[in-house]
């Protein structure tokens, strides 16, 4: 439906450094600088998660901003809406902390703010051209691209592989 960019994850590239988590928290702080964000109260929180699985796999997981977002449909207080850049966002002011969004989210990426007792999630950094986590990732495991663009790149890569194999 849209040509908005999404945050895609390349699981094979994640080294589990958690730099994305730091960058996300700093971006969602008052001062937007690491050395001062660390002293803020309440402490800013990260909206991106990196899960570890046996075999030493590291997998960044974050809100997919689903086109048919279960959370958006389930929210009873009308706190969840779709922004003009197609992100699914939670309005903390309207959130009543019922955690229905948490129940229905297929990815488990909606968090509970410890101090505010409100739900929070990735907002794709509306003030930035590239989301902070993507900009911070040292291995490009996070990619900010349109669905079409991401697929196109993937097709190009697989095509090159195919040719190499045929030539071999």
């Amino acid at each position: 439906m849209s040509n908005y960019k999404e945050i895609f994850v390349k699981t094979d590239k994640c080294t589990g450094c958690l730099t994305c988590k730091i960058a996300c928290a700093v971006e969602h702080s008052e001062t937007k600088s690491l050395f001062s964000a660390i002293r803020e109260s309440p402490r800013p929180v990260s909206r991106v998660y990196v899960e570890w699985l046996p075999g030493n796999a590291k997998v960044p997981v974050l809100c997919r901003h689903c086109e048919e977002a279960p959370c958006l449909n389930a929210c009873i207080s009308g706190a969840i809406s779709r922004s003009d850049t197609n992100a699914v966002i939670t309005d903390a002011g309207k959130c009543i902390g019922c955690w229905t969004c948490v129940m229905v989210c297929p990815y488990g990426v909606i968090g509970r703010d410890q101090t505010l007792a409100k739900a929070f999630r990735c907002d794709r950094c509306p003030d930035r051209e590239i989301p902070a986590c993507v900009g911070a990732c040292p291995t490009q495991a996070l990619v900010y691209e349109t669905v079409d663009g991401f697929s196109k790149t993937k097709r190009k890569t697989v095509s090159r592989e195919l040719l190499t194999r045929e030539g071999a």
Partner: protein, 638 residues
């Protein structure tokens, strides 16, 4: 520097800007390119919240994750940060004292007749040092005294009945008392380094304040290493006296065999300078006009202060010397030598020659230099440079036509000698009186490096300019001295413009009394990074003269662009000595509010010194001035 150039955000040195343009044109990767590729840097490392001290790790504490407040072993953020800082202090201490130990071995071999290329150049300094160590001097041969001094130096590295003599014997009586009370008198230099490694091991010290006290004690051992380095180098190679020289890339000469000596220790570089002087004919036979030896980093400072050898460039711009295409051999010893010089040299067809067993670089040629065969080894290296010149001589070079006039060579001894021209009986009186009268508001020592995160030299020049106008006497060492000399702060012709009236009057009076026909330079070059000891020696002498301790003196230190762990250990011993000490780059301690508070506040109640962490140079200058004013008030001075 007023017009915008494309590289102004990387360096404020116009010669380096020119070379960056050439590097870009030739696709040569520089430190600035690699920094950009490294971004963003890891926030755990930046804040000190990353630990690799055991194999259960690596651990990192996410400061924004309330669920993970400790590492796997249970060490919290305070412990992790304090352990990390301690290890940086230990590394810096190991480096300075390794440098000093190398000199001690050289002195020992010389005294035993095993190193014929070395001699006692300054017997007066030898006796001064010996007397301080309670080594008998009267009626003894210099070599016998030297043997005892060398043995005493080596003995200071391990635990023995006495504390580290180069620490306990060089500070004010008041400082000895403070340090003793706090348990901060080091037992042996190597002992302190080893103890830091022990206590920061998996499952040892987990009390952040105890860890920081351990770090402070190790830093006092670093002071000892530095002081010993200066003492022994002065004995072997001469105590500096003021002399004129030049700085910056324009000191390389197209028609000469250019040898860049890079690193720190004068043990090799002194011999290269001497042997190069004897090999002029061979250079001429190869088609050169002469051999042109230039220095980079602290090797440059050591050679400049004793022989007036020009300083080519410093610290973060070391690769730029090679980008000129005019260097025929870069001969290095150790410390601050970026491994990248080998690849830049390869691009330019230059040879990098390593000389020390502990510092080899893949891609460089190695000549193993021993004190026993130093001149022979030096000759070998110089022949490589001459061979390099033959290959290079018909190729184009790009040497920026930029040099700066430098007057260097300010040791404690030479400063006292200069002051004695004003008052022969009481040489410290003119300086002490100027401080009391306010003609000199105080003293600021600039030390440390350049750091790729800061436009090269901008913090040094901005802070120094402001302090000089406020009549603060500025002294500088290491690449801090290098930075200021490349911006004319050591050119006496600029003293009038740079200094406030009170300071100018003092510098001018000293200059005139010494027959210079004008003032001293606005910033006094005290030498290399081990020569921070000279700043300590002068401060201690003044404090003793005034009958106060160092923590009362209107003296501050600043490392506005630090890089090396050596800058961390120097900064820490400045704090242990009792000085307000500015650092212009965030130390990796912000992950612990407790450690940050101890370093910037609590420690003040213990030693009187404290860290001022401020990246903004204008604010930093104001904070340093405020610290000086506070100290003046404490002494009842206006």
């Amino acid at each position: 520097m007023t017009s915008e150039t494309p590289f102004q955000h990387l360096t404020t040195d116009p010669a380096v800007q020119q070379m960056l343009a050439k590097a870009k044109e030739n696709h040569i990767s520089t430190v600035w390119d690699r920094y950009e590729q490294m971004l963003p840097q890891c926030g755990f490392g930046e804040t000190g919240l990353c630990c690799r001290h055991c194999l259960q790790g690596p651990c990192r504490i996410n400061p924004f994750d309330p669920g993970a407040e400790t590492g796997i072993c249970g060490a919290n953020a305070d412990v992790m940060v304090a352990r990390g800082l301690d290890r940086a202090i230990a590394a810096g201490t190991a480096a300075h004292s390794g440098h000093a130990k190398h000199l001690a071995h050289t002195l020992l071999k010389m005294a035993r007749g095993q190193a014929k290329d070395y001699k006692i150049t300054d017997p007066v300094k030898l006796k001064k040092v010996a007397a301080r160590l309670h080594i008998a001097v009267d009626g003894r041969a210099d070599t016998d005294i030297a043997l005892d001094v060398a043995k005493a130096a080596l003995a200071d590295f391990h635990e023995k009945d006495t504390p580290v003599l180069w620490a306990a014997g060089v500070v004010t009586p008041g400082r000895v008392e403070v340090l003793s009370k706090l348990g901060l008198v080091p037992k042996g230099i190597d002992h302190e380094v080893a103890e830091i490694m022990h206590r920061t091991l998996y499952g040892v010290d987990a009390d952040p304040v105890n860890l920081l006290l351990g770090g402070l004690r190790c830093s006092v051992a670093d002071l000892a290493g530095c002081y010993m380095g200066t003492d022994l180098a002065d004995i072997l190679f001469g105590t500096p006296t003021p002399l004129a020289s030049q700085a910056n890339l324009g000191t390389l000469k197209k028609e000469s065999v250019n040898i860049a000596l890079h690193g720190h220790n004068p043990v090799l570089s002194e011999i290269i300078v001497k042997v190069a002087g004897e090999m002029a004919d061979e250079a001429v036979a190869a088609g050169a006009d002469r051999i042109n030896v230039v220095g980079i980093c602290c090797t440059g400072n050591e050679l400049m202060e004793r022989h007036g050898i020009p300083s080519c460039t410093h610290s973060v711009s070391q690769e730029m010397a090679l980008v000129t295409g005019a260097v025929d051999a870069m001969i290095v010893d150790y410390q601050c030598i970026m491994p990248s010089v080998a690849s830049v040299a390869e691009c330019m067809g230059t040879k990098v020659i390593t000389t020390m067993d502990i510092c080899k670089i893949t891609g460089a040629e190695h000549i193993d230099v021993k004190e026993e065969t130093a001149a022979e080894n030096a000759r070998q290296a110089i022949l490589q440079a001459i061979a390099g010149f033959k290959k290079r001589k018909n190729k184009p070079t790009h040497i920026p036509a930029l040099t700066n006039t430098v007057v260097a060579g300010f040791s404690t001894e030479s400063i006292v000698a200069a002051l004695s021209k004003l008052n022969a009986k009481d040489p410290l009186a003119p300086l002490a009186d100027s401080i009391k009268s306010g003609n000199i508001k105080g003293v600021c020592l600039f030390a440390g490096c350049n750091n790729v995160k800061i436009p090269q030299d901008i913090n040094y020049t901005k802070i120094a300019a402001k302090l000089l106008k406020e009549n603060v006497l500025v002294v500088a060492t290491g690449c801090g001295a290098g930075s200021l000399m490349r911006h004319d702060f050591m050119d006496p012709a600029k003293t009038r413009d740079l200094c406030g009236n009170g300071l100018f009057a003092v510098l001018n009076a000293i200059g005139e009394a010494n027959g210079l026909g004008g003032p001293l330079p606005s910033v006094l070059h005290l030498g290399s990074c081990v020569d921070n000891s000279r700043a300590v020696e002068i401060t201690v002498a003044l404090a003793n003269y005034l009958g106060v301790d160092i923590n009362q003196m209107p003296v501050v230190a600043s490392a506005p662009e630090p890089t090396s762990e050596k800058a961390v250990s120097i900064g820490t011993y400045a704090v242990a000595a009792g000085l307000p000490t500015h650092v212009g780059v965030m130390l990796p301690v912000m992950g612990s509010a407790l450690v940050a508070k101890v370093l910037t506040q609590t420690v003040k109640d213990l030693t009187g010194g404290y860290f001022i962490v401020e990246p903004d140079p204008d604010k930093a200058a104001d904070m340093l001035l405020q610290a000086l004013n506070d100290r003046r008030k404490g002494l009842g001075l206006v």
